[in-house]
Each structure stands twice: as C-alpha cells, then as structure tokens.
Symmetry: D4
C-alpha cells in the first residue's frame, strides 16, 4: 500500500509501556488534562506504580487515582511518603495542589442531598487537582426549594456548575432554568428500589426540560470534573 499516512503525531515516549499497562503520558498535550488511574480492578502496587509514572512524566501536575480502597490508599501513602498525598472520597491525589481549598472559584458543585456528598467530593477533589477553584453547595434538593433559591446569587457567579443528585434527579433541571452557565449533571446511585442503582436520575437528567443540561455516568464525579476542566479551559485559553 503506497500512500500518505494520517494519524496522531506525538513525542517519542508519549506512552510508557509497563508491560501490563501503557501509561498515556502524552495526554496533557492532546487533551489538556493528564490521565488518571482508575483503581478498581488493579492491585495497590499497580496503582502506586502508575501514579509514579505520572508524577515523573508531569512533575508540575497532581497525579490522581480514583476509586481507591483503603489498601490502595495505604500503598500510595507509603510510596509517596515524601510528597503531599490527599485521600478523600476514594481519590488519591499526589502532589501540591495548584489552588487553595478556598471555597471559591469559577466552578460550583451543587448536590441535592447529603447522601450524594461522596460523589460531589470526588468531583471537588478532581477539579482542584486539575487547577480549578471550586465552591461546594450541599443539600439544596428541590423538596425545600428555599434552600436553593437562597444560594442563587452564589450559583449565578459560577462559570460552570456541576449538579449532583440521586433519587428523582430533579435538581439539574431547576438549576439550569436559573443560571446561564453550562450545567453538567451527575446522577447518583442513592435511592430506594425503583432508582435502580441510579437509572432513575440518569434518565431524568437526560430528559431535562431545561435546554443545555449535559450528563455524565452514574456516580461519576470524576468525569463531571474533567468535563468542567475542558469547559473552563475554553475560558482560560483566550
């Protein structure tokens, strides 16, 4: 076959081959954010090893692993005894955070109920590790609408809003009708039987009557934060 080649141009060594894994260290150059380690189904040693590759490849970035259990967190803490390690909501983040936990910034993470907090916190930690200032607004579900309306001025200051909700998943529709920022909705697996592990709020959010709501996977606070990073980069790149 003679001809031209189209493809992906990349620096030599744009992935590190560990045999069992190929760490995609070229990702920041292509997508603006680094690869994160999905710890589920990996051994603690594998997670720590992958984080070490990321730390070495991107010294200026926080290396992140999600869905870590305690054994995994312990392995990470041991491996990076000399570096700052934050463990919260199943996320292990290694490295100095670029932004303080100020409770302010362009990203608002809103959640409907207190049982949705772990997912919201996965979003918060991921966002902060990627350099975004975040404010968290918990427990403003629509059963008591005055709580949300009370926080409206604050929400309207945000440049991007992540809305986390289980059960009926109604909150993103209400929020998106009140603000002009992009709204990224995260359904959670919180709820009684007919929530079917998050299917109910997922469908609610996909069917939002407020135009412009977009949706990520159930309990995927990480993915919502990564979408917010892409969106806020829109602003940043100017």
């Amino acid at each position: 076959m003679e001809g031209r080649m189209v493809g992906v141009q990349y620096e030599e060594g744009a992935y590190r081959d560990l045999g069992w894994a190929k760490i995609d260290v070229g990702r920041p150059a292509r997508t603006g954010t680094a690869e994160a380690v999905y710890a589920a189904g990996k051994t603690p040693a594998q997670v720590a090893g992958a984080l070490a590759v990321l730390r070495e490849a991107h010294p200026g970035r926080v290396a992140v692993a999600t869905r870590c259990d305690e054994a995994c967190a312990a392995a990470v803490r041991e491996r990076f005894a000399d570096e700052p390690v934050l463990v919260e909501a199943g996320v292990c983040a290694v490295g100095e955070f670029p932004v303080p936990e100020s409770g302010a910034g362009p990203l608002a993470v809103v959640c409907a109920g207190t049982s949705d907090l772990p997912v919201a916190q996965e979003a918060v930690v991921t966002a902060r590790a990627n350099g975004l200032g975040v404010r968290l607004v918990p427990d403003v579900g629509v059963a008591g609408l005055h709580r949300l309306l009370d926080k409206l001025p604050e929400l309207r200051e945000a440049v991007c809003v992540i809305v986390v909700a289980g059960m009926d998943g109604a909150l993103p529709s209400v929020v998106a009708g009140l603000v002009s920022a992009p709204v990224v909705a995260v359904p959670t697996s919180v709820g009684y039987g007919a929530a079917f592990g998050g299917l109910a709020p997922l469908l609610t959010m996909l069917n939002s009557c407020s135009p412009g709501v977009t949706v990520v996977n159930i309990d995927n606070g990480f993915g919502a934060a990564m979408a917010a990073a892409r969106i806020l980069n829109v602003k940043a790149e100017r």
Copy 2:
C-alpha cells in the same frame, strides 16, 4: 366442604351480563365511583352499549368511556342523541355534569408543558364527571420556575393536586415541597428518545425526594382523577 362463606355481599343484579361483558353496576355501592368503559380494543357499538347499561343503572351519574377514537365518539353521539354528550381528550361523557366548568374547586390539575395537556384534560373531564370542581394550571414546568411560584397561592388553596409531566417529570417533587395537599403524579409519554415512552418521568416520580407523592400509570389522567375522587371523598364523607 361444610362451613361458613365469606365474600362480597351485593344486591341481586349487581352486574349486568351482556355475554361478552359483565358490567359491574354494583361498583358505586362498593367503591364510591362508577365503572368507566375502556374503549381501546372494543367496537364502537360495544362502547355505546356498555355506556347505555351504565346510564340505565345509574341515572344520576355521568357515564364515561375513555380512550375513544372518532368512530367511537360518533357512535356514542348517535346512540345518545337526546342527552348531553361531552367529547374531549378521548373521553366520551354522557349525562348532565354535576358541577359547572368553573375553573375552581378542591382539585387542581397542574401540567408541566403544553404537550402534556391532553393527559391533563383526561383528568379534568373524568374528575368533573365524578362531581369534582377542578382548576387547570397549565405550562408551569420547572425550566421557568417563576411561572409555578406565581401560581403558588392558587395551588395552596387546592385540597388535592394532580401533577402531569413528561420529559424529566421533575414538577411533582417541586410542587409537593410547597403544598400540604396530597399530590398524585402522572407521567406522560411526551419526550425525546431516552424518555422511553414515559418510563423516565415515571421513575422520576416514584423516586420523588418530596415525601408523600404517589404515582399512577403513564398517560393515565383518568386514573389520577379516580384517585382524587377517592381522596376528596375522605373529606366529603365527614
């Protein structure tokens, strides 16, 4: 088998056997409301015939058939040429309505979007045929919350509220957080693909974060009105 018999006591003739159907004319005595004819799958002549049995058995009640197509409505109008016949939203109602279409009364029927109106109107006609005063509050979906909040004083006057919504089905949760009346939620089949014919708002409503919302079948305005009749009888029977 010698022994005692437990069962359902009823007047002789408490059902009329038409061969192909057994009209349950004893239902008002047992449940407080008359049987209605479900027209889907019946011939126009069968529908008209069943309505005639109901008219004869309960002269003081409006006889109701739901899910009527035009051929069915024509047959009903012809059969009952000398009686008042109302045809609306697929409902054929034969007989003088006990309450005027005043736009007031103990029952509020609220709907989220204008595409939900046919289902809301099935509820309104059924309720009025069963003697309930009804006010209809259309197009107050949560994407523009001020519309609903503007109508809040009116909603708080209602003794029972039916909330009809398709797409995200978020409205019943919001309403139930603002009023003390019983809220009967009706999902509709209105919406884009992932509404799955009304499954999405059905699940939303079953998972309402506002306690006390109850739910009927998709597009079942009739059933919601019948539940409202039972609920408002609670008040009436004192």
Copy 3:
C-alpha cells in the same frame, strides 16, 4: 434585572445550615409534616445530629430517621438517653408518640405476606409518629382470598388504606375493588428471580385494573405513610 420577585416565603431560620446539611425546619409550615432523616449513606453521628436539630425545631413532633442500621440506632439511643426512642423496622423515632398503639384508627396497613411485614411496619411507625391511628392487617394475600374477605368489614371502616405486597403485587387491585377509601400501594422486593427486586409488583400496581390505586417506590413504607398523612389531613383540615 429590575422587577418583581416570586418565590417561597419563609420565616428567618427556616433551614438550619450544618455545613454538610441544610435541615429544612420550615417543612411543617409548608407541607404539614416534618422532614425525616434518610440514614442510608450518613454516619451515625450525622443522623443523631440531624435528629437533634429536628427535635429542637419542632418540640411537639416526633423526630424520625429511616433506614437506620444498628450502629445508627445505638448512636440515636445514646444521644437521646432522656427521651423516648422507638426503634423498629429500621426507623428511629425520638419523642412521645401522639397516638397510642391501639390497633385502630383511620389508616389501615394491609400486607400480602409475612415477608412483607418489615415494609408494612415502616409504614406503621412512620404513620404513628405523624399522629395517625393505624391498624395492621397482615398476611391476607390473594392465594387464600377468604382471609381478606374475612377482614373486609374492618377494611371498610378505614379512611385510607395502604396495601403492601411483593411477588405478584395483586392485592391492591383486589382491595381497591372492595373499598371506597384511597388505596396507596407499596411494592416490596420480596420474591423469586423474575420479581427483579420489586419491579414486578411495581408494574402490577401501576397497571391496576381497579381505578384510583396510586403507587409509591419499592419497599417505601415511609413514603406511603407520608402520602396517607397528606390524605388524612384532607379530612382533618375541615
């Protein structure tokens, strides 16, 4: 934006901000019943703390948490060592119950099988905590119809009926054909494989051939009782 404001009027302090939670202490004024704590996904300390806010805000009401495990119940008992605490069917209720456990009253809670009892009891405790007199009618499933028919006089005295059933979920249709009171149906997750965690009886109940049945979420005895409270308030408010 100059203009008018519509919204929710509330007393100052109508929610208590605990940082991680916003307890909606204005709910009784709006909806007639107090917020309950959904314990799943909360720490025992959080549950006890939220109950304390509710006790303080509404001294005349029983504070309720649902879906409590043993650790949670222990924390509640310790926190409220000087107050009456009832723990049953996963419900922790703090405070003096307004009605005795008389086995009588306007609400009947009927269940199909003995395996449905925990859900029925969640309904009973919740209802009593909200001031409703309740009678429990267990194990009257349709496989032995004479058991139900034997209790029919008793059921016909009730002003509202909650019907709890797993497996085929057939009982609410039968009951609603025999009484005039509102029937709130609760599907349970009891059953063999094709019950799919309560999906089967949920669909059965939504498709009830007896008009006027309304449905709550799977295993949601709490929600059924809250709906009954709204319905019985219809009577009470006259």
Copy 4:
C-alpha cells in the same frame, strides 16, 4: 467415527420438504398434536400451501394457521372452498371440528377484561380444533370480584383452566387460589403505558403467589391451548 447412533426414530416422509419449508408431519406421532402454521411473515400462498400439506398428511385433524390477516384468510378460504373453514381471532382452521361449540367441556378459558377477548378466542379456537371441549368465561377481572366468585362453581368443574389477563395480570393468582386444576396464565398486551406491551402482566403471572401457575408468552392464546391439550392428554391417555 465408529459407533452407535442415538436419535429420533421417524417414519419415512415424516417431514415434507417444500424447499422453503419442511412441514413436520411427524409431530402428532411424537407430541400428540399437529404442527400449526404461524402466518406472520409468510405470504398468503405459503400459508395456504402449508395448510394443504397438513390436511393431506392428517386427514382426520383440523389444520390450523394463527396470526392470519385478511389477505391470508381470503387465500385460505379460496384454496379450501370445498371444506369447512373457520376464521376467528386471526386463526384459520380447515376441516370439521371434532367437538361442537357447546360451551362446555374440560377446559375453561377465563378472561379478565373484554379487551382481552381476542387472545382468549385464539385459545378457544385452537383448543376446539385439537378436540377439546371449552367453556369461555369473559370479563371477570378482580376489580369486581363478585363476578368471578359467581362463576366459581363452574370454574371448579373444569379439569384445566386458562386465564387471560392484561393490565395488572392479577386474575390467575386469584383463580389458582380457588381451584385445584392446572392454571395456564396468558398475559396480554392490553393496557396503559407502563404495561410495556404486556411485560407487566407477564411478570405478575411469573411471580404468582399461588403455587402451580404456569405462564406462556404475551398474547399467546395458541400456546396456552396447546399446553392445555398436553395436560388434558394426561387424563385421556388412561
């Protein structure tokens, strides 16, 4: 491969190869009943041709095709102009029926609502074509239980009972709790949205709390009659 052969012994010519079809004329010898033609997806000529093979192979049996539309029925009537042809409920039956339409016999076909009648009639015609005496008991749904209880003596005379129901599908559970005969349940696609084309009553019936109910496919009156033929052969073969 040297060795023994196990398999199905059959008369030479136990299937007729039409090129596009292989009519299984050996089926009565193996299973006690003849093959029926499933007309959906076949041309009228193919249906008539297949029936002709069956008529020729089994002169003493009624040849049956199910799910016939009008064009198909016309082709059958034309092809068998000299033979008795019964067309009802989508079934074309060619040949003299072995039993009169007496309304009596060992098989009872019960249906919940009048909209379920076409499915019930498919069962009745199929059963009669296979030599079973049938009585049809229509419109005895559980919303008006006295209609069913009124027919109980008649039902208890039946040796096998087919119960046809859409919507909540509750009737088979109630019937099976009252009779000792085998109960074959047929869900129908009749109902509002959340019946999901018959899924709701199908699940209801599979989860029947009355032991011993068995279930066939949605709207499959034919299959229920064929099961009844196998069951009643149990009696016949003594």
Copy 5:
C-alpha cells in the same frame, strides 16, 4: 346494601391466625395441595412455628418450607426432633414421605447442566413431599445432544416433564418437540453476565418454538413441582 353474597365457602377455622401470619389450612380442600412456608424473610422460630401449624392441621401430609438457610434448618430439626425431617436444596420437609425415592414415577425432572441441580432438587423434594414419584435426569444439555437422545425412551414414559435450564435455556424446546407430555420449564440464574440472573433462559422458554411449553419463575423448582402436582391430579382424579 341488601342482597346476595357470593364468596368462598370454607370450614370454620380454615385459617389459623398467629397474629403475624394467617396460615391457610383450608388450602388442600380448595387447591389439592397444602400451603408451604416461604422461609426467606422469616425468623427460624417463625418457620418452625408455621410448620407446626401445618403438621397439626394436616397430619397425613408432609409439611414443607422452602428457601431455608442453615439456622432455619437447625430450628426445624430441633422443633421436630421426633419426626422425620428431610433437608435438601433449601427445603425442610417434616413428616413421612408418601412415596419412596425410587427414581421412578410419572414425573421426570430433567436438567441441562450440573449447576442447575439445586433447582432441580428443590423440584424433586417438593414433588415427592406432595406424593409424586419422580425420576431425575441430570446433565443432558443440548451441547451434547446424544446424552438427551439416549434418555429419550425414559422421558417418553413420563406423564409430566419438568425441564430445568440456565444459560441459553434451550433444553425445554428440544424436549417438548420429542415428547407428548406437558412440559413445565424452569429457568435458572446460572450463567455468565448476559444471562442477567436468569432473564435470558426465562425469555428463551417463554418464546419456545415448541408449542405447549409453560414456564415458571427463575430458580422456582418449587413452583414447577406444584404445577406438576396440579397436572398429575388431572390424571389422579379420574
């Protein structure tokens, strides 16, 4: 309401009210078989207590509880120390079995794979407790058809056949094409991911291309045996 009463006639005492349960001791008179105790969701003491009521009410019958765990079995063995107790496949059966475990009789229980054996054994024990002679034919799945064909003469002797299969659930269609007896199909939850807990073989069996197959719930060996008891009573009652 003046009138007639229709209902279920039963001997005084046709159910025993234990407060938390109403044991339906009139069931043999109505349906030919006794109530069985569904142990899931009951305490060991409740199971043993219910069995005691059944033993006392029907001294000539074996009292059966299904889905018993070890604690439950221990409680049963202790309570009935002086009586024969059989514990197998989660069934506790108290009393002398009416038929020996001969491996012969009118009922054949066939299973596709060895992983389906527990469900098949639930059927075998239940059937024997109800007086049916049973032969078990294990591991004749369609991947090695000669195993089934080798057993065909034996299967053709059976008056009723229960076929148990997981995974593809193909066996009942094959068996029903080879025998004339009624075939009751039992899907099991055995299989890889897309078996979805037994949904795959359940649908297979409902869609059997062999007419006359009927189906019970997933893993419901008990229900299949109860259906067989009804079917074989057809023969017995002559």
Copy 6:
C-alpha cells in the same frame, strides 16, 4: 407565616400567559438563550402563535421551533410571510440569522454516518440561530479512521465539539482522546435491532473511556447546540 421570601426576581411580564401556555420570555435574562417551541404534540396554529410571542418579545433573536412536521412548517411560513424563515431538519427558525453559514466558527459538529445527518443538522441550525459559527464534519465514523484523522487539524481548531453517532456510538470517545475542547455527545436512533432506538450509543457515550465527554438525549441535536451555547458563552462573557 411571617418571614422572608427567596425566589426568582424577574421583570413584570416575564412570561406571557396564552391560557394554554405560559411563554417564558424572561429566559434570556436568566439563562442567556431564548425558549424554543417544542412542536411535537402542538397544533400548527399553536406553534406559529408561540413563535409570534417570541418574535415580539425578543426582536433581536431568531425564534426557533423544533420537531416541526410539514403542516407546522407551512403554518409558520404563512404566519411570517414577511420575515426570513428557515426550515431544515424539522427546525423552523424565524428571523435574520446573526452569523453567516460560513462553515467556520468555534463550534464543530461531527457525525459518524450519513444517516446521523438530520440530527447533526438540527444541532447546526439551532446553534446558528443562537449566534454560533458552526462547521459540519460529516461521515467520519471509526470504521474508516483515516477520514477522522484527516480532519483532525480542523477539529483541533474548534472551541467546542458536538459529536453525533448512532449504532456503536464509538466516535465521541475517539474524538475526546484527540482534542482538548469540551465534547458534547449525541446518540442517535440509527441502527439495527439491538440499538434499541438509540439506547446502545447512549450507554456507550455515558461510559466513554475518554474523560470529560458529556451526553444529551437520543436524537437531541437541539439540546447539544444549547449546551454548546452555554459553553461558548463562557468564552464570550470575558
């Protein structure tokens, strides 16, 4: 209830009450984009009437109705005979477009197959009506990857990318691994049976292995464009 009011501040007249509808003319002030008319389930006259309200309220904006059939488009053309009307992909857009159809701009709309084009075009028209410059990149599905890679430089220029795909829905994952812009994925209902009306690509996109993909409803090109408008406003508002 004495107290404070929280709520939504809006100009007098921020919705127009047409009796059957409440047009939310305050939406641009709150959310940055105008309400669009969802034509499904409305009469042509209603659609035209609602567009007229929008035109009058926001003279500087293009008024948009989606899901219009031909009758609806005709009514719109007649009503707005003196204004520019664009009808494409079911969208009726009334008013002068703020940006030329240049095939350039900050938004790229990519689609996998030519059968996905109508959905992509709904997105393009909606986006242009809201003032966004759009380039359309059709038929770059992953079965022939060189087509996509050939367009990569163009895609990398976009500030926001909408990716439309049916069948396997694989394209958004591939695109999001190659660009840093936000990726909004739109599943379509294009495909063979197991696409289940778009469910398959919907799930694919929600499970994207490329972090930061967000998803809208099936066939919802409109919603994707509205999300893009919110995202690109992030940039614009600086």
Copy 7:
C-alpha cells in the same frame, strides 16, 4: 508538538468526499471487503450515488446496499441500467457475481423457521456478492429435531455456519454441539410479545451452552455474512 506520527497509511484518494458522505474506498485494502451502503435514512439518489462511487473504485467487486425499500431499488435499477442488478431481501447488488448460485460452497446458512428467511437471504446475497459459495438450509428448528439431524452430513461439510433464528433462538446451541466449524448466530425479530423485537433470541445466543458460538446484531444477516467473509479469508489466505 514535535515527534513521530503513528496512524493509518493509505493511498491518496482512499476516501471519496461527496460533501455529505466520505466513501471509504480504501476499505478492501485494509479489511479485505468493500464498504456497503446502509440505505436506511438515505435518499434513493444518495444510495445510487454511493453505489456508483463504489463501482468505479472497485470495478472487480459487486457493490452492495442493504435495507433498500422499493423506491431505492428503482433508483438503483435506473442508475445501473446497463449492469446486472440483483434485488433480494432488501439488498441491491450491482455487478457480476463472482460465484454461481450453486447451492454449494464453504458457507452454510441455516434458519430455524420460514419467517426467518428474509434475514437468512440477506446473509446469502451478501456472502455471494463477496465471493463466497453458499448453501441455504431452511426450516430446521428444534421443535422437529429430525429435520436438522437429517441435514447433519451436509452441515458438517461446511467450513463456516451461519445460524438464523427468532423466538427461542435455540438452534445455534444445538448446531454448535454437532459441528466443528465456526458458528455465527443471528437473532431475528420474529416472535410473540416476549421476544421483545429479537431481544430473547439475542440473549439465548449470547448465553449458548455450546462453546464457540459468536453473535451479531438482531436481523443482521449482512453482518453475519461479513464475519463469514473474514473467517473464510483465514482459509483463503493460506
């Protein structure tokens, strides 16, 4: 970004850009078979135009479009008036077929019922257009096993077997237990309600107890033939 490029090497012009479509004429070089036109959702002119590109690019190959309706077939016949055009089972094939319709060859296409024939024929035509000799074995469903066993010698001669079945989808498991060739299973949408448009046989086939069965989409005879072409190329390439 300086570095290396990986990608897909292709001849200049390896796709033809028609503006609305990019015909992948480089596909034979990469995958061994040419692109086919999926006609659903395209205009007749688009289908004919795309076929013309394919004919021109690959003069030695038959150009194929699937899922063509009559208007589409007419347009193809008109466009290619001078070339052989075969229209069958929704397939339009333009060009001289490389193999005669001999009814022999390395590929066997087996189908369970006559209603499955259109899907089987889509497979046959596609396979022949790609140069494969095919024999079709219709109507050998498992309800009459002797028909299949009678054809076993013929099946064992095939190098690859496609098995097409609706309803219970049991046939591939039986075939795969009897032959050593690769078995590609195609579920069809033929069947009663609980076949759910082909979901039932799809799940059956995915759960086959015979190891080595692989599955394609519902009604996807085309895809099965393309898989067979890849498999038979394994042989050919030696």
Copy 8:
C-alpha cells in the same frame, strides 16, 4: 412408529455417566475441542473429578476448568499432584501445554484497559490449552489512540483477533476497521454505574459500525477463545 432413525452417531461410551453429571467425552470428535468444566456452582471435588474423567478420556489434551475459586484450585492441585497444573485468571488447566508461552502466534488478544486483563487472560490460557499460539496486547484503549496505532503492524499479522473491552466497548469497532482478520469482541463488566454490569459494551459491540465483528457473552474470555479455536481450525484443516 416404524421408520428410519436420524441422530448423532457416536462411539460407545461417548459420555461418561457420573450420576450427577454426564461428561461429554465425544465432543472433540464432533466439535474439534474438548468439554471444559464450568466450576461455578460445583464443589471442588466435583471439579477435580470431572477434570480426571477428561484427562483419562483425552490424554493428549489439556483439561480445563473455568471460574475456579481458591478452594477449587487447591483441590485440583492436590488431585493432580503429579501433573503440570496452571492456575490463572480462574482457569485451572491440567496437562502439558502444546504450545510455549511465546507471545507470538496466529491469535492476538487485545484489551482496552488494564482492568480488563483478567478476562483477556482467561482467553489467553484457554486458547493456549487448546493449542493456539497467542500474543497479548494490553491497554490500547481508544482514549489514547496512538498506543493502538503503534501496535497495528503486530495486529495485522494475526490471523484472528480477540478484542476485550469494558466501559464504552469502542475498541472492537476501531480494530475491525484496521485489520482483515475475524474480530471476536468480548465485553467486560468493568465500568461505572451505567455500564450495567457489561450491558453497555455488549450493546456497543453488537452495534459495531465495522462489519464483521461478532460478540460473545460478558466477561466470557473462555468463549472467545473457543470461537477462535473454531476459526483457526478453518485454516488448520486445509
């Protein structure tokens, strides 16, 4: 019944009857590969016993059991203390492997993420036990496409490719667009909530836009390897 017999010819003793199991030792003669033991639901002793029958029947083949837990593996190791036993990814393989673990050969097993490795390894071990040379290509998911493109030359050497992927399941479509070999796709249960235990990638793969992809059950590495064995036998048998 006089006549002919069709069936499966087999050597005497082509299955070994263990009472609870019938080991199909005739399978290699019919299908080219030996039966494997599915350990789930069997006791360790049963697994070891079945393997012993297979070892004895086919001394030249490796005997394989899948889905073994540790107790099972221990029993196997003990029983076959004198033979080579490989335990990996839940597979116990007894006997000398016919091919070395060279990392080369006609079969490539590709996986998208490192969490999919156990399923890929089940495929690798099964394939090697059946005499296939295998190379494993891990962690080449589409989020970093250059990793896959870098391995393209290697993939193009393979005669058959197994592609294992969870989450979006997009990899098989991309691979099948780049190679001409048969592609067998294996969805895994790896992923967030809306992967629904592997349903998402399963549907993705069934809907692949690259013609010729075939699919096996979720997590079924074993089945994919068995399909590959059938496919590669196509080549071998020449």
